[in-house]
């Protein structure tokens, strides 16, 4: 918006020309070209698996060794493709920050978050250890991590999905780079935090002239902060131009489809299937469920202090879900949503409370009973990449539960796996790939397909569409709706996407800091929120306006 005025006059900050990336014989980025001017924020949107992440990695010179990139990438007149490692070191982190799509695996499991955030500061800004640590605390506070003084000492495995993502962002912006490549930086964030991050980026953009390449599936977000947008599909750029123009008057058919699939534009797609209320016959009942984690301290502290400090991640949560119902869980990042899901599926040991499925106590199950329960209740993990065994191919991973549970022979299971792949909109060609060879959205769908393979009665879906473009997202939601109708599938749907939740779920629970702060019929809660936090949440949502003739985008609220 403001940037638009300058951009013609200035030389491009980054210019990508004819960039092609191939894995062996498979070309995944096909000669794309675009430019980015100083102080500009551009968005990249596109189909899942269209090569957005790979293209950005190519720009930063961080492709896996099996990839071959050709073309030209110029940053401030330097040809990045020609840099040697020492030159790259000067560029990366200082001139060019990178936020990876999958924050979990990109954090060093052995080092405290604070140190990882501080590392680039020490390296590029030559801060002292202590100063850098202080700065890291500030940065974590900037990205909305509560109690940052304490959290700098946490390790990645103690962070929630969204918190890891924010830590990654903090590390990337720490040195004030000229260019930030942000690969879906807000997928795991609730809207308030998302708004906060976006505001942070905008601030940096305005005050320090940070240029950003933002990959996102959320056109609302793109529309909010990007001056230009690039639309990708199947490794090619199908359309690019000023945001207003592309969103308001899409030229390419795919762009049109994309914009029309925006949840806010198709609220009445008929996803909601009414069922009996939870009060009469709860299928799943979570009663006063609490989960706490030990707080790990340094060795010296550990040596001296015998007592155990704990952190209450979930505090007496009560949840009821009726058969066939779709219940949404929304809430702050780090508020215990995933913890709840894990506790229900017996992956966490609750410190108190009960979980009942069809009246049966879940927490007491063992052996055969537990196996039966697992078949009935399936969960899709928030972090799709890490939840796939790196050694198994897509087809193996999906087929395994089928034949393991004796639902079909191995051969039959392989066939079913192919069907499932199709159901989740994954091309057949991916069946022999390993997780490392998939895009974020593709992994996510593999996780979903695997969970569905057992034909569970209940599905706990932890952010299953966050990495999907809206078109694919819509297809997945269609699929779930169909399953609900056909199989009476019960869904616990954890999501940050309020639009989807309100369109898709019957009831919703709102989480904050380990507690349920509000619950009720989804539409009601999300249109007339009662609790302050819910209000804040709802207020922070950005959408594309229903019709977008002129500029087409405006947040419901100014982000404060």
């Amino acid at each position: 918006m403001k940037g638009e005025r300058h951009m013609e006059k200035q030389a491009a900050l980054l210019s990508v020309a004819d960039l092609t990336v191939a894995f062996g014989g498979l070309t995944v980025v096909k000669g794309i070209s675009f430019e980015l001017h100083p102080r500009e924020i551009i968005g990249i949107v596109g189909e899942s698996g269209s090569g957005k992440s790979i293209a950005c990695r190519a720009v930063a010179g961080l492709l896996p060794s099996s990839a071959v990139a050709t073309g030209r990438v110029m940053l401030e007149g330097r040809d990045l493709m020609r840099l040697d490692e020492t030159q790259w070191q000067q560029v990366r982190g200082r001139d060019l920050g990178m936020i990876f799509q999958n924050p979990a695996s990109h954090l060093d499991p052995l080092r405290q978050i604070g140190r990882q955030v501080a590392a680039p500061l020490i390296r590029h800004q030559h801060l002292g250890r202590r100063d850098a640590q202080e700065r890291a605390v500030e940065l974590l506070a900037d990205v909305g991590i509560r109690q940052p003084e304490m959290r700098v000492k946490s390790y990645p495995h103690e962070f929630s999905g969204g918190m890891k993502q924010r830590a990654m962002i903090a590390a990337a912006i720490g040195c004030g780079p000229k260019l930030l490549i942000a690969d879906e930086p807000t997928t795991a964030l609730d809207v308030t935090v998302q708004a906060r991050i976006l505001k942070l980026l905008k601030d940096l953009n305005q005050r320090h002239g940070l240029a950003v390449i933002l990959i996102s599936h959320d056109l609302g977000v793109i529309a909010d902060i990007c001056s230009r947008v690039v639309v990708m599909r199947q490794g090619e750029i199908v359309e690019q131009g000023p945001t207003g123009q592309v969103v308001g008057d899409p030229q390419h058919a795919y762009t049109k489809l994309l914009i029309d699939s925006q949840p806010s534009r198709r609220a009445s797609r008929g996803w909601r299937v009414e069922t009996k209320s939870a009060e009469t016959s709860p299928f799943l009942a979570v009663e006063k469920l609490s989960v706490s984690f030990p707080v790990k301290r340094g060795l010296v502290a550990g040596l001296l202090n015998r007592g155990e400090a704990t952190f209450l991640a979930l505090d007496k949560a009560d949840i009821r879900v009726a058969q066939g119902e779709t219940v949404g869980i929304v809430g702050e990042s780090g508020s215990g949503k995933s913890t709840l899901a894990r506790a229900i599926t017996r992956l966490n040991q609750p410190s108190g409370g009960a979980v009942k499925l069809g009246g049966e106590d879940v927490l007491g199950l063992a052996g055969e009973g537990l196996t039966r329960f697992r078949r009935r209740v399936q969960m899709v993990f928030q972090n799709p990449y890490d939840s796939l065994n790196p050694r198994l191919t897509v087809a193996e991973a999906i087929a395994e539960p089928i034949w393991r549970h004796g639902l079909a022979s191995r051969r039959e299971a392989a066939k079913q796996a192919d069907d499932l792949l199709e159901m989740v909109e994954l091309p057949h060609a991916l069946r022999d790939r390993k997780p490392r060879q998939l895009s974020g959205g593709q992994c996510q769908r593999v996780g979903l397909a695997r969970a569905l393979a057992l034909r569970p009665e209940m599905l706990i879906a932890d952010e299953i569409t966050s990495a999907l473009d809206v078109t694919t997202q819509a297809q997945i939601l269609d699929l779930l709706t169909r399953l609900k109708q056909e199989r009476d599938l019960t869904l616990l749907y954890i999501s940050h996407d309020l639009a989807v939740v309100s369109a898709f779920c019957q009831r919703v629970y709102v989480f904050k800091a380990g507690r349920i702060v509000e619950s009720g019929a989804a539409q009601q809660v999300l249109t007339e929120p009662q609790h302050d936090y819910t209000r804040e949440l709802v207020g922070a949502v950005m959408h594309l306006a229903p019709s977008s003739q002129k500029k087409g985008l405006e947040p419901d609220h100014a982000v404060g």
Binding site: L62, E85, Q89, V91, D108, L110, H157, G302, L303, E308
Partner: protein, 312 residues
Amino acid sequence: MGHLQAILQRLLQLIPVLLGITIVAFLLLHLAPGDPARLLAGDRASAETIAAIRHQYGLDLPLWRQFLTYMGNLLQGDIGQSLRFQRPVVELIGQFMWPTLFLVSYVVVLSVPPTLILAITSARKPGGLADQIIRLIGVAGLTIPVFWLGIMMSRFFGVALGWFPVSGYGEGFLDHLHHLFLPALSTAIWFIPVLTQSLRAALIDKATADFATAAKAQGASQRDIFWSTVLPNAVLPTLNLLGVLVAFIIGGTIIVEMVYAVPGLGTLMIKSLLGRDYYVVQGLTLVFAVATVLITLAVDVLTAIIDPRVKL
């Protein structure tokens, strides 16, 4: 659980371990053929003489009585007397312990830096020329029998060149360093490839991990990435291996100690075994057990320090 508590608990668990080892060792030793009395008295001794000696040392008692006596003494902190030398076992172990401790530390000091250098060079470009050469040398180092190497080195450096003594332990720190150089080197030549292979494999594994890429994306130099990200993540299996091997060589430097006539625990062990000096072997076993447990504990503590996901 606090670390201190965990450590204390582990030390407490030492008791059943020691008990277990004592029992097993006692039984096995007495199962093995051979008679200390015969070895003591020599070839010409008559059956009556042997019987008299056996009686004097209580070797003619039923096994369980011998064991009870032994345990009784053990509980009072007395680990017995050498049958062969009529000296307290403690004294013998005290005499032979230092060369071994020195040797083991020497081996570790000599091994760890080359291991790091070789594994790093090798893992930096897997399949590259340096890597191939290092692996070949590693294989050679592994395949050359320690005793052969020991003898060759003592001939060459000790006899032909006269640079190093070919036996003993010497007096004083520098003298020890001088005397034990060849033994330590002979062991290290076998030690280094084993560790290098393990570390190299782990390094290559972790060097391609996403978090290494992330560090790269933050502009960290190769060296930085290596030292602060890849190495810590890769070092755990090697650390464990090192722990096992160090525990192993405390009692297992036998060949090298024999070749270089180092008066260490390995020598003591083998001589006591060959002489069926039961209580010395028992005592050594206890010492090895304590050493192993301490080393394992140290490795576990280090692991817990390095990896926050691991609890002690």
